[in-house]
Symmetry: C3
């Protein structure tokens, strides 16, 4: 960004917005409505919050099309939050890293590293590994042998890639991410000791994936673990051997996915979800936080499930409400039993009369 | 510690204890009652364990005031465990690290590092970062640009601080802690692809905070993520963007806190708890292990909650007991239905008669 | 492996298999039945899958003894999957690392490192630490002072060992494992501030243990945290201070075990399990994924438990089924109440008549 920022006109052109008010105002930064100061652009997506626009100090506010709001400069957009995000990409571009190979970095002779790559201090790059243009390897990153990394990736400090994994382009791996460790598979012998089932497969992480800090993606046992394009994974997530994750999937923090489970495109998985092995989450399904998916279970396309073990959300909520009224039901059953005893006694009397 | 240790008299003075027996005994180490040997000091807080004091080989035992116990040397204290911890601080002070800048460390020219700082092997310190007196950066620590670190902090091996985070004084970050990674926030476009919502905020970790191994604290999206003074966080914990944690809060291992949630002072959060976004845990509330707090939920000050979704502990336990008796209730309802059928038949007969 | 592979005869001799068909075929690699090509060996353990043997392109298939299957070369084995794993060890031995001390590694003068040890780039080894023959320390590993590491261990990149921990022989620690960080123990003072309870104990990891990526094993507070022989631990697992884990135990990903809990030999713990402190899992017990074990709880030897809080699996499943039928029971109770009202009214009428 040049320090002068952009005019509202320029920004509106980027996102197809329509300006109401002074379109020549210069914007330097994005901000929330409440924290914004002069030179900032903010947004309101929820119509109920339009009232607060009049109190902001932002120089421009992005609002839904046709919204009523009181400010010197408004930008109408079909999806204000998206417009805000796209404008932020322009006003706050990621820090640039000039091509470099830090003198403390150890890069194997046989590695093929594009000359535009940034390699920070104390990085290690193994044999025959190839790294595409514009990629950044920050301090302490360790890349094994025979790894492929595409273009314009960002590997934050202390990321570890084991041998033979493949990373697409524009992939972001946050600090401490570990890709390609051995899967958790053993075979017991007669003394109940475990021998490693071969963990000699690979990992494929496709383009435009982002993986959060300290998350782990194990290699396939024999085949491959795959994470599809545009998928976004939060921090401290565990992806086991041979898991297959589709495109545009979202997985929140601390979720764990067991071996050979399949998550199809566009699924959304909450935080701290646990999935057994060989399960399948079909296209577009949504799994609520902390849910537990049993091994082999199939979650229907587009369905929304919750609970341990997971059930359709509506059913789960209904059952949970019933559960909350158990003391009432208990009392009712007690009362019925008391009454029944009385009724039976009365009938016995009548009989005798 | 000098190798001679301290006399019981000296230690008692430190913690306001009262000595019964030979106060001139020299103590070199703390130990548990069962493992203690000559030269050790142990403690008993629970009156039921006083009986075992006579079997210990400890040279001195800290006991509650007025406790009956049989040992050559006792130290009475209002709170024996606290006295023991304070004595341990004196007998087992943290290892000292002399000021140093390891020749393999890479420290930016523009960084301002106090000359008393210890910087270990393979550390990286970014541009314009400032580090206060007595702080230790152990092997492999990576500190970004424009970071502020106070005095007497300890950053264990491979800690990662992203750009622009602020750490107070006497903060302990265990190995693998990651502070300031991007929060998990995206905006979908028309093709269901996700664009990063700007993650350009900061993190503030206040004085005397301790964070356990491999825990992650994300930066604020637009604002700030904050962890208040004296708060203690265990291993593998996830703190999302814009979370606000008060003072003297305790969070056990593997808990995850979603974006913008607020935890007020003195709250206690168990292990593997999951909290949705925009929730609020009021002052002094206690959340049991594995509980799930729904997004937007408010947990009342001083309350104790448990379960998924969380309820007041007493209620949860009562419901759980009812749940355990469901087979009994099922049988009772069956019996009632059988009896009712009989009663209705009997009444029908009576009518006909 | 020499590039020529091994003959089926040679492989059969290794695992006590019996060959049917051409035993002179050369095998170069293991593979799954479906992905196998010429030169591969595959296996079938489940008799229901024998049918698919005829479609594989594997040069040899390991099958149960006496199995009917149609292929040019079969190897009968008592336990095909175990035979397959043992054959994989021969065909795909771990990559060898020649003895080396990378010039960027920092090894204390007082450390005793066997000359056969491989030390990769940017490793740090502290004072008086001893490392046995054939052990590998990969890039960025940080080992503290007074650490003991046995023979033939593999420490993957960025493993951190704090001071004074002990690691046996043939131990595998995956990337990002952290051993010996302080346990999470504090004592409150009058202002509700927490002082560290002394965390001055140690960790013992015995022979043939494997620990997955980013898992954490805290040191004992006063005593020791121990992980017994042949135990296998998955990724992102938390083992707290003073936990005692027996031999041949298996612990799946993201499980957390609180302080002083004991897990006896041969127990199997699922993923995302949470265990309170001072619990005890007796010999051979199995704990289902996501279960919660209450503090102090004893899980009986050989039992199988599940749920939060955990109950015997059969009971848990039965209760869960009852829970799922709560709406039905609710309706039945409603109907009973309606009928009872009617019955009582009828009886009242009869009385009046």
């Amino acid at each position: 960004m040049d320090d002068e920022g952009k005019t509202v006109t320029e920004l509106a052109a980027l996102v197809g917005g329509r300006v109401r008010g002074d379109a020549s105002v210069r914007i330097k930064s994005v901000a929330s409505l409440s924290d914004a100061a002069e030179g900032d652009i903010a947004f309101v997506e929820d119509a109920r919050l339009l009232e607060s626009v009049k109190e902001t100090r932002a120089s421009c506010v992005i609002v839904p099309e046709g919204a009523e709001a009181n400010a010197p400069c408004l930008m109408e957009a079909a999806r204000p939050k998206l417009a805000f995000a796209l404008i932020a990409e322009v006003l706050h571009p990621p820090k640039r890293f000039a091509p470099a190979r830090h003198p403390t970095a150890i890069i194997s002779e046989s590695a093929q590293v594009d000359e535009s790559v940034y390699i920070g201090p104390h990085v290690h790059v193994g044999e025959r590994t190839r790294i595409g243009s514009g990629t950044q390897l920050h301090a302490g990153v360790s890349v094994g042998d025979d790894v492929l990394i595409g273009s314009d990736c960002v590997l934050r400090p202390n990321v570890v890639l084991y041998d033979r994994v493949t990373i697409g382009s524009r992939v972001i791996l946050h600090a401490g991410v570990i890709v390609g460790a051995d899967g958790f598979g053993y075979v017991r012998d007669a003394e109940n000791r475990r021998h490693k089932f071969p963990q000699i497969g690979t990992v494929l992480i496709e383009d435009d994936v982002e993986i959060g800090a300290a998350s782990c993606v194990d290699r396939g046992a024999l085949g491959r673990t795959r994470i599809g394009r545009y998928t976004k994974i939060d921090n401290l997530v565990q992806i086991a051997h041979n898991v297959e994750i589709g495109e545009r999937v979202v997985i929140a923090a601390q979720t764990g996915i067991s071996g050979s489970t399949v998550i199809e495109d566009d699924a959304i998985i909450g935080g701290q979800v646990g999935m057994g092995d060989h399960a399948r989450v079909r296209r577009g399904a949504i799994i609520g936080s902390k849910a537990g998916i049993l091994p082999g279970k199939i979650v229907r396309a587009g369905s929304v499930v919750w609970g341990i073990p997971a059930r359709p959300l509506d059913e789960y909520k209904r059952l949970n409400a019933h559960w909350g009224r158990l003391p009432t039901m208990r009392a009712e059953v007690e009362e019925l039993r008391r009454q029944m005893k009385e009724v039976l006694a009365r009938l016995e009397e009548n009989k005798e009369e």
